[in-house]
């Protein structure tokens, strides 16, 4: 372990010298060094056998996400966050990624500030909980988790100006990351397996098309608002059925060129959070493979009862409505769906938190239930239990192929 840390230190210091031309320690600015991260032992169990014979009911796995960080006295820094996952059931879910490897510099301009991040990074946009609609910079690491919150590292140049008039951010995105999908042995997949090794691109530059994005955001009293634009390669693929050389059908991801305008806003009034995310997207193919311009939104609230009934417990209620203007032609299950959830936090020493939610389709009878429980065991170890269940999925629903894939997962996490 000691040798590993020493080696990491040498590598990071070398990178630092290469970037800034100054050896840490050799000149005046002292270097801060931080090493942290998490290791996790996980098990996933499916009460029902899979719809396909290759699938198993159990999977166990290991996750490692160490974070290395170097920073000098002026705040210039380099961050490195690799990610590793081993999965016993699906060889494709055993994967590695570079979540972050970026250089950060910043300084003052007038009364405001500028910041530049160069390298692989993660960016989050949005306010909603049931779905992250405007969030588009990073590709989803779907094989990691079906909730679409896990993201792959994205190579970028990210420039920010901020002042009292708000924050402007500009992104140059030179390389497209393909979405990850479960293999034949994995659960939560379509009846046809997605071959993510050979995607098709609309652009002749393939994954090297230079995508651009920009966002303006501001905070005005109780209102936080953001407007964004993205022009480039879609993060969401259209999956087109094809036959391989052996005559076996599979799904090939197709990444078109799209333009997306996004708006996100949150009004914070006392214990109420009122939320809206909306997009207008052009150039994307719908579920039938036809290009269709469309609008979509998610809007709702979060209300928290603090110290309920004189106890230390907090109880939050959440409600969100998801709408997609394409209706039955939408490429997701959110054409007209309502999400209702409750979050319970007893504010105990262990930081216990329970979240229970249900998403139900307003036009069909489909339902998805989710449960998430987190609790610290010691200052370093924590426990996470999660379940996603599909008690009712209509045949016409996009989720129909995963209806047997309800699961419970258990994670024992070591934070360092």
């Amino acid at each position: 372990m000691r040798w590993g840390a020493a080696l990491v230190h040498i590598v990071l210091v070398s990178i630092w010298v290469a970037l800034f031309g100054v050896a840490p320690g050799s000149s005046a600015p002292p270097i801060d060094y931080d090493f942290s991260g998490r290791l996790s032992l996980e098990g996933r169990w499916h009460p029902q056998s899979g719809a396909f014979p290759e699938q198993s009911r159990h999977a166990s796995g290991v996750l490692a996400e160490p974070e290395f960080h170097l920073e000098d006295a002026r705040g210039r820094s380099f961050s490195l966050t690799p990610f590793f996952r081993y999965d016993s059931a699906d060889p494709l879910r055993t994967h590695a990624d570079l979540r972050e490897a970026y250089l950060l510099v910043f300084g003052q301009t007038g009364s405001g500030e500028w910041e530049l991040r160069l390298g692989v990074d993660r960016v989050f946009w949005g306010v909603a909980e049931s779905r992250h609609l405007v969030d588009i910079v990073n590709q989803t690491d779907l094989i990691e988790h079906p909730d679409e919150e896990e993201k792959l590292g994205q190579p970028m140049a990210h420039l920010t100006w901020s002042a009292d008039w708000g924050v402007v951010e500009v992104f140059g995105l030179p390389y497209h990351r393909g979405r990850t999908f479960p293999g034949p042995g994995g659960r939560l997949r379509y009846s046809l397996v997605v071959d993510d090794d050979n995607p098709l691109y609309e652009s002749r530059a393939n994954q090297w098309h230079f995508d651009v994005a920009a966002r303006y955001s501001h905070s005005l009293g109780p209102l936080d608002i953001g407007a964004s634009v993205f022009d480039g390669t879609s993060r969401e693929p259209h999956l087109q059925p094809e036959l391989n050389s052996g005559g076996v059908p599979f799904l090939r991801p197709y990444y078109g060129q799209i333009r997306q305008l996004g708006l996100d806003a949150q009004l914070t009034l006392d214990a109420w959070l009122l939320k809206l995310e909306a997009i207008q997207r052009s150039g994307a193919r719908n579920i039938r493979g036809v290009e269709q311009n469309y609008g979509a939104l998610v809007s709702g609230f979060e209300y928290t009862f603090y110290s309920v009934w004189g106890s230390a417990h907090d109880l939050s209620l959440l409600g969100e409505w998801n709408y997609d203007g394409r209706g039955g032609n939408a490429t997701n299950a959110f054409d007209n769906d309502v999400f209702v959830a409750t979050r319970w936090a007893p504010n105990d020493v262990q930081g216990t938190e329970l979240l229970a939610g249900i998403m139900f389709d307003a036009t069909r009878s489909s339902q998805v239930v989710s449960l998430e429980f987190n609790r610290r065991i010691t200052d370093r170890w924590s426990l996470s239990v999660e379940s996603i269940a599909f008690p009712r999925v209509e045949e016409s629903d996009i989720l129909h192929e995963t209806r047997r894939d309800s699961f419970f997962s258990f994670s024992l996490i070591y934070n360092f």
Binding site: F124, V127, E148, S162, S219, D270, N347, G351, R376, D379
Partner: protein, 274 residues
């Protein structure tokens, strides 16, 4: 397959200001006796505020040791930086280092005297900055015996006051005043505050819950003077008389005049926190 759920790690939300203002310097000696106890109580509070003004900015580390009735301990480690905003509440930034599952979580507060405070929470697992409600007053701060409102700036405008009496406290003479929270969301019906007459430093606070029962006692110790003016305490112990639990908050590495400005307390700055 597209439903999305919340944050991967447990997190704190809705914390009120953590900066502790009560420990202020003094230049004027004891108060003149006045007939009206309300006016006298208010005058003490206004004097204490005035004496604390002009510190500019500071950074510090805090350690919290949480003890349950059986003596079992749990630790919290955090860093904070504070910027004085003349005529308004201060800007505060808190970064959590321990427990490790919340490492890197950061809380930004723009406190206000009249309007609601503004608060943003940075959740490192999702690289997400989330605007949160500032209306949580009586909830526990990080599972400790300090409620959010105990950590918060006791802005003069947020209480009504009454001078009660004078009594010895240690080697000093203290004034004992009552303060009643204006905010109905407060968990307290009233508080009794012991302040020495010389420097107006707070040494003890009794907290009474909504049922008027004596809920908690705060004891403050190890005052040190900074910049030849400002008195800040290093040790604060909160004991809950109902549950038998206690929390000791220790301040270390308190540093003034770091040339902090508004740019160190922005939403974009939150994303740079380590």
């Amino acid at each position: 397959m597209n439903h999305s759920f919340f944050h991967r790690r447990p997190y704190l939300y809705c914390m009120s200001c953590l900066a502790v203002w009560a420990f202020l310097s003094a230049r004027t000696p004891a108060l003149s006796q006045e007939a009206d106890p309300e006016a006298q109580g208010l005058k003490i509070a206004l004097d204490a505020r005035e004496r604390g003004e002009g510190f500019g900015d500071f950074t510090a580390s805090q350690t919290m040791v949480l003890r349950n009735r059986g003596g079992q301990e749990s630790r919290r480690q955090l860093r904070l930086q504070v910027l004085e905003v003349p005529g308004d509440g201060d800007k505060n930034l808190f970064v959590f280092d321990e427990p490790r599952d919340v490492k890197g979580t950061a809380l930004l507060i723009h406190a206000h005297r009249e309007e609601e405070d503004e608060q943003w929470l940075y959740l490192p697992a999702l690289r997400r900055v989330k605007r949160i409600s500032s209306s949580n007053r009586s909830g526990s701060f990080m599972g400790s015996e300090f409620a959010y409102e105990d950590m918060g700036t006791p802005e003069v405008e947020k209480f009504t006051y009454r001078y009660l009496r004078e009594e010895p406290c240690g080697d000093l003479t203290c004034t004992v005043s009552e303060r009643i929270p204006v905010d109905r969301r407060s968990g307290y019906s009233r508080q009794e505050v012991w302040q020495d007459q010389q420097e107006l430093r707070v040494w003890k606070v009794h907290y009474y819950d909504r049922k008027k029962a004596h809920l908690k006692t705060l004891t403050v110790a190890d005052y040190r003077q900074y910049l030849d003016r400002f008195w800040y305490a290093s040790t604060m112990t909160m004991v809950n008389h109902i549950t038998g639990k206690s929390t000791t908050l220790t301040w270390t590495e308190l540093q003034f005049q770091n040339n902090l400005d508004d740019n160190d307390f922005t939403r974009t700055g939150l994303r740079r926190i380590r």
